[in-house]
C-alpha cells in the first residue's frame, strides 16, 4: 500500500492532493480549504482527516507526506519575522540598506526603497577582515562579539545573522563567531553567510543570510506545531518539505535553512508541469501558471525545470527588476509578471492600454465580482468575451455581473464597443506574457517554437491557446488536477539538495587535488541532508557543476561536470561548450576563471508511470452552447461547452470549444483539435499555419 499526500499552503487556499496506488488502480483525490493565516497548521490538520476519510484510509496508511508553504515569504513581505541582529565586518554595516545604490525606476523622483529587515541599531560591526583570496588580513575582534552579545541579550534579540566579507572563501571567522555566540547566548539561532549562501557579492549574500535568520524562529515553531499535530492524529511518516529548487528536504534541514523554502509553491507547480512533460516524453516544454495577480513561466528541459541561483522577494515598485530583496539560493527559474485575472487595465498618457501590475486582488476584485470593484480587469474582459460564464464561476459559488464588467471596460474609452476593449485587454495581457517568455528564452539561449505549453492555475487555460499562437507553439496540455498543480508537484518531487561553495581561481593554476577534495566535501555535505529524506539504501544521483567565466567577464556560466577528478582541460572544454551554446562564438585568448563549485545529491527520479486504467464516466458530454467572441472573428460565434469531468480518455473534438471545470475554463479556438489522453490531460493541437497573427 502506498498513499501519498501533498499539501500546499497558499495565501488564500490550502490545497491537498492525494495519490493512492491500490493494486492496478491509481486513485487521485483533491481538497481545497481556506488558509488559516493565524495558525496555518490548522487548515492542514482539519483537511487531512477529511481527505483520508473521503477514500477510507487511515493516517498510518500514508507513506509519503510532502509540504510547502508561503509562510516564510509572507513573514518577509509583511515584516512579521523575528527580532534579528546582524553581525558584520566593521565598516560594512550599511550594505543591507544601500544595496547596489541604485533606483529601480530611472524617472521616478519619489522612489521609495524597502527598509532593510534589520535596522541600523541591530547591524553590529565586528573587527576582522578576510581578503579576496581567503587570506586573513585582520584577526576577529572577539571582544566586540562579547560586547554585542550583552546588548543583544538586553535587547531581546531572537535570531542572529552573521555575514563577513569574503566569508564564501574563508568561513573560519564566521564559524568562530557562532561558537562564541553559542556560549554567550545559548538557544538563539545563528545563520552564517558561509553556510546559507556561500557565494561572492556581499549584498546578495548578506540579504539571504538575514532573511534566513529573520524567518527561522517562525518557520521552526510552525513546523514543530505541525509535526506534533500530525503525530497526535496518528501519522507515522516523516514529513518532507518542498524547497525553492524543486527538491525535497527533511524538517531538520528546512529549520536550518528556511530561506530555501521561499518559493516552494511555484517550485511545486514547475515540478508538476515537468512530470506532465516527462510522462508525455516531451523533450522541452514551457510551464504556464496564471492566478489572480501574477503569471509565471518556467522553461523545462528533458522534463526538468531550469534552475537559477538568485531571485527577488517582494518587488515593491511595479514588479520592477531590482525593487525587491535579492535571495541567492538554488531556485526553480521562473519569470513572474504582474498579469493575472485581477490585473487592472488603464490607458496611459500616450493612449496605450496598459494591463497590470496593479491588481484588484480578491477584494474588491474585478468589477464583475460585484464586491464594489469598478476598475476594468482581465476577468471582466474574459466575461464580456464569453470565455467565462456569468453562472458557474468557481464551481457555481459565485455569480458574475456582466453589466458591471462592460461598464468598467467602457471607462477606458467610452467611444469604443465594450467587446473591442475586452479583446484589446486580453491581447495586451497575452502579448505581455509572450514578451516575457521571449526575453527569458533569449537570455537563456533557448528556443520556444518546439516546446509544448503546459498550462495550469485558474487563469492559464483561458489564455493558453492564444499565448501558444503568439509564441509559435504547436501543442498545449491542460493537465488533470491543474487546479491544485503545486500540491501534486510536491508528491512527484524528489529529495534533493545542492551544496555550493565559492572557489575563486584561475582554471589553469588550480590545485586539482584540492578541488577534488572540495567536491567530495560538498558531496558529503549534500548526502547528509538528503539521505534522511530517503528510504534506507535508496540509490543516489550525484551531479557536479562549476560556475566558470572568462577572466573579467560579469556573468558566470553554470557548467555541468562529470563526477570524476577534474582537470584544467576538462573544465575549460566544458566551459567553452556551455558558453558557445548560450552566447555564440567563444572569445579566443582569454583565460577561464572558476568562481564556485556545487554538488547536487538527489534520489533517483521515479520512472514514468503507465497511464492509469480508464476511470468510469458519469455523464455524457454536455451539449450546451455559449456565445463566444474570438479576437480573430468579427461576430460572436455559438460555441459548444463541454464539462471536463464528462470527457473520457481518447475523446476527440474540434474547436471552437469551451471545456469547463470548477477551477477554470479552457478556451479552444476554431481550427484547434482536442484529444483527451489516457491520463485525462487535455492535449490541444494548433493548426500548422496561422495567417495574420501578430507576433507581439
Amino acid at each position: 500500500m502506498s498513499l501519498s499526500i501533498g499539501i500546499d499552503i497558499g495565501g488564500t487556499f490550502t490545497d491537498f492532493a492525494l495519490e493512492w496506488q491500490r493494486g492496478e488502480t491509481l486513485l487521485r483525490h483533491t481538497l481545497k480549504l481556506p488558509t488559516t493565516p493565524h495558525a496555518p497548521e490548522q487548515a492542514v490538520l482539519d483537511g487531512l482527516p477529511q481527505l483520508l476519510g473521503g477514500v477510507g484510509a487511515l493516517p498510518r496508511d500514508v507513506t509519503r507526506l510532502v509540504h510547502g508553504t508561503t509562510l516564510a515569504t509572507n513573514a518577509l513581505i509583511e515584516r512579521r519575522g523575528a527580532r534579528t541582529a546582524f553581525l558584520t565586518t566593521d565598516g560594512f554595516r550599511d550594505v543591507l540598506a544601500t544595496g547596489n545604490e541604485s533606483r529601480a525606476a530611472q524617472y521616478e523622483l519619489f522612489y521609495r526603497k524597502p527598509a532593510p529587515l534589520v535596522p541600523r541599531r541591530w547591524r553590529l560591526p565586528v573587527g576582522g577582515r578576510i581578503g579576496a583570496a581567503g587570506q586573513e588580513l585582520a584577526p576577529l575582534d572577539e571582544a566586540a562579539i562579547t560586547r554585542h552579545a550583552a546588548e543583544m541579550a538586553a535587547g531581546g534579540i531572537e535570531s542572529i545573522a552573521v555575514g563577513y566579507l569574503h566569508a564564501y572563501a574563508a568561513p573560519a571567522q564566521e564559524r568562530r563567531t557562532r561558537d562564541l555566540l553559542g556560549a554567550l547566548l545559548p538557544g538563539v539561532p545563528v545563520s552564517l553567510s558561509s553556510e546559507v549562501s556561500p557565494e561572492i557579492r556581499e549584498y546578495e549574500r548578506f540579504c539571504t543570510t538575514v532573511a534566513n535568520a529573520y524567518v527561522q524562529p517562525i518557520v521552526s515553531a510552525y513546523l514543530k506545531r505541525l509535526e506534533a499535530g500530525l503525530r497526535a492524529q496518528g501519522f507515522t511518516v516523516a514529513m518532507l518539505l518542498m524547497l525553492s529548487s524543486g527538491g525535497l528536504a527533511t524538517v531538520e534541514t528546512t529549520m536550518r535553512f528556511p530561506v530555501r523554502l521561499l518559493e516552494s509553491g511555484p517550485a511545486g507547480g514547475a515540478v508538476f508541469a515537468a512530470r506532465i512533460a516527462r510522462d508525455a516524453a516531451l523533450p522541452c516544454a514551457l510551464a504556464f501558471d496564471m492566478g489572480g495577480t501574477t503569471a509565471k513561466l518556467c522553461l523545462l528541459e528533458d522534463g526538468v525545470p531550469r534552475t537559477d541561483r538568485v531571485f527577488e522577494v517582494d518587488r515593491s515598485y511595479r514588479f520592477a527588476k531590482g525593487s525587491g530583496m535579492p535571495v541567492r539560493v538554488p531556485v526553480v527559474e521562473l519569470v513572474e509578471i504582474g498579469a493575472g485575472g485581477g490585473s487592472i487595465a488603464r490607458v496611459d498618457a500616450t493612449g496605450r492600454l496598459a494591463v497590470g501590475p496593479k491588481s484588484a486582488g480578491s477584494e474588491p476584485g474585478p468589477a464583475c465580482f460585484g464586491l464594489g470593484g469598478n476598475a476594468p480587469t482581465v476577468s471582466d474582459a474574459n466575461l464580456v468575451l464569453g470565455r467565462l460564464a456569468a453562472a458557474g464561476f468557481a464551481g457555481g459559488r459565485m455569480m458574475l455581473d456582466a453589466g458591471a464588467a462592460e461598464a468598467a471596460l467602457l471607462s477606458l474609452a467610452p467611444e469604443r464597443a465594450a467587446e473591442d476593449l475586452a479583446i484589446a485587454v486580453t491581447e495586451v495581457v497575452e502579448a505581455g506574457m509572450a514578451a516575457a517568455a521571449r526575453v527569458h528564452a533569449a537570455e537563456r539561449g533557448a528556443g520556444l517554437e518546439d516546446r509544448v505549453l503546459v498550462a495550469f492555475g485558474g487563469g492559464a487555460p483561458l489564455h493558453a491557446l492564444r499565448l501558444a499562437r503568439r509564441l509559435g507553439v504547436a501543442r498545449v496540455i491542460i493537465p488533470q488536477g491543474a487546479g491544485v498543480g503545486s500540491a501534486f508537484g510536491f508528491l512527484w518531487a524528489n529529495p534533493s539538495y545542492e551544496a555550493v561553495r565559492g572557489y575563486p581561481g584561475s582554471v589553469a593554476a588550480l590545485d586539482m587535488a584540492a578541488l577534488e577534495a572540495a567536491f567530495l566535501a560538498l558531496t558529503a555535505e549534500a548526502k547528509r541532508v538528503v539521505t534522511p529524506a530517503l528510504p534506507a539504501a535508496a540509490p543516489l544521483q550525484i551531479r557536479r557543476s562549476a560556475q566558470l567565466r572568462y577572466r573579467g567577464q560579469g556573468q558566470e556560466v553554470t557548467v555541468p561536470l562529470p563526477v570524476v577528478a577534474p582537470g584544467a582541460a576538462m573544465l575549460e572544454a566544458a566551459f567553452l561548450d556551455a558558453y558557445s551554446a548560450q552566447y555564440g562564438a567563444p572569445i579566443p585568448g582569454v583565460a577561464v576563471d572558476l568562481v564556485a563549485i556545487a554538488v547536487t545529491v538527489s534520489g533517483l527520479p521515479e520512472a514514468s508511470r503507465p497511464p492509469p486504467s480508464a476511470t468510469s464516466v458519469d455523464t455524457l458530454p454536455g451539449t450546451t452552447t455559449r456565445s463566444l467572441r474570438d479576437p480573430d472573428d468579427h461576430a460572436p460565434i455559438a460555441c459548444r461547452v463541454l464539462r471536463r469531468d464528462a470527457l473520457m480518455p481518447d475523446a476527440v473534438a474540434s474547436g471552437p470549444l469551451l471545456v469547463v471545470e470548477d477551477a477554470t475554463t479552457t478556451v479552444i479556438p476554431a481550427g484547434c483539435t482536442l484529444h483527451v489522453d489516457p491520463r485525462g490531460h487535455l492535449v490541444i493541437d494548433l493548426p500548422a499555419a496561422l495567417p495574420g497573427m501578430l507576433a507581439a
Binding site: D94, Y107, L109, K113, P119, R120, V439
Partner: protein
Amino acid sequence: MIADLATQLTWDRLIALAEEQAQALLRSAFSTTVREAGDLSAGIFDPRGRMLAQAVTGTPGHVNSMAESIRHFIAAHPIEAMRAGDHYISNDPWLTSGHLHDITVVTPAFHQGRCVALFACACHQVDIGGLGQGPDGRSIFEEGIRLPILRLARDGAFDPTLLAILRANVRRPFEVEGDIRSYCAANAASARALAAMLAQQGMADLEALGEEILTRSHRATLAAIAALPRGSWSSRLRLDGVAGRAIELACRVSIVADEVLVDFAGTSAAVPRGVNVVLPYTRAYAAFGVKTVVAPDVPNNAGSLAPIRVEAPAGSVLNAQDPAPVAARHVVGQFLPDAVFACLAQAMPQRVPAAGSSVLWTVQLRGGPEVVDAEGHQGRTSFETVFFNSGGTGARPGMDGLDGTAFPAGVKAVPIEVVEANAPIIVWRKELRPGSGGLGEFRGGHGQVVEVAALATDEPIAVLAMFERCDNPADGAAGGQAGAAGAVRLSSGATLAGKGLQTVPAGQRLVLELPGGGGWGNPAARQAGGAEADDGLD
C-alpha cells in the same frame, strides 16, 4: 485617444527588443563598469536617426546623448551604403556621449533587403588609454584614443587594423575588445529579432509605426506641458570646479506655448581641465531633469524629447568646443537636474526635490610602476580599476531623501567583494555617514564614508580624483538645510584636492566623505516618526 491594438502591440514589442539588447550586453560584457554597474545604454532608431525606443537600464547621460549621435553616424555612412553584418563605432565626445570612455556601436537591421532600423548601444570602458579617466587633461589629445565614426565590421568580419590600433592604445586590451564584440553580438541579435517580428506580421518596415510612436509621445509631452504654470525662472549653482577655479552654472527654465526651454546663458567658460561638457551631454541631463518632473511616465524617445529645448553658449563649460578636455564631464553634467529643479521649484515647489550630492563619486584607482610616492615606494603590479559610490539624494516634498543612492545617474555600485577580487586593493570602510543628510521637515539622504588602500602595505596607489561638493554642499529647499559637504583626505589627516591625479602613499588609506542631500521644509516641522526613519543616522 486610445491607440489601435496593432500599434500598441508592436510598440510594446519594440521596447522589449531594446530591453533584450541591454540584457544581452549585461550578461556578456567584460568591463566591471558594464557588467556589475550597468553603465550602458541601448536603443532602437529609425533610418532617419530618430530614437523610437530605449532600454530602461543605464544612465540618462548616455541614452539621451546617443539619441542625438545616430544622425552623425548616418551622415558619415549613409544608410544606402550600409549592409547586413556591418557595425559602426565611435567614441568621439562631440559625436557620441561626451567622453572617450564611452564607446558607441551602431548596427543596421535589415528586412527584405532594406535597412529598417539601427540598433545602438553605448557602454563605459574602465580605460581608454591616455591619462585615464580623470580631470587632468589639458586637451582631448591627452585623454586617450579617439575613434572617429568608423566602420568596425563589414559583412560580419571585423576590421583587424582598427582593432589592433585600439588594443595597442589602451591599458586593458582584452576587456575593450571583448566588450566591443559583445556590443556587436547584442545589437546583431536584436536586429535579427526585429526582422523576425516584421516578417511574422507582414510589415515592410517601421515607417508608419515609428510615426505613430513619435506623434503619440510628442502629444503626451505637450499635454503634460500644457498643464504647467507659464513663466520663466532662473537659478545659479556654484560648483567646486577644478584647479582652484569654481564653476558657476546659470540656468533659466521657461515654460512657453508648447515647449520647455532650458537656457544656460551666463554659465562659466570652459576650463583647461577635463570637466567640460559637450552640448549633447548637457542636453541629455537637462532634458532628463525636466522629464522627471514634467512627464516621467511618457516613454523616452525622439517624440517625447522634442518639446524640451536646451541651449548653452558655445565655449561655455556646458558647450565645450573641440579640442577641450572632457574625460570627467559627468562631475559637471550630473548637476544639471539640480540646476533645472532649482528653477522649477519656484513654480511647483511640491513636485521638485531639494539638491542632492548628485555627482557619482567614481573612485578610479591605478597601481604599478607608473605610481611612485614621495618616499620612493613604487607600485609593482599594474592595474586600473574603478568603482562607483553615491552620496545622499535631496529630500522630496513628503519624503526623506535616499541614503547612498545614485541620482541622476542610473548605475549600480560594484560589489566590494568583486572590486577586491579584480584588483589588489582593500576597501576598509564603506558605510553611511551619520548626520550628513540636510535637516528639514523631510531630511536629505545620507552620504557615505569610503576608505580604500593598496592590498600591499608597501605600495602606493594613485587616485584620479573627480569629486564634487567639497566646498559647495547641496542646498536645502523650502526652508530645509544644506547637506554636509564632501571631503577627500588621507588616513594621516592630510587633505587631498577634490580633483586630479594624486598619490596615496604606501601604508596610507584614501578616505572619502561623500556629501549628503539637502533637506526639504522647516526642520521644526519634522514629525516625531522621523526619528525612527533616521535609524541611528542623525
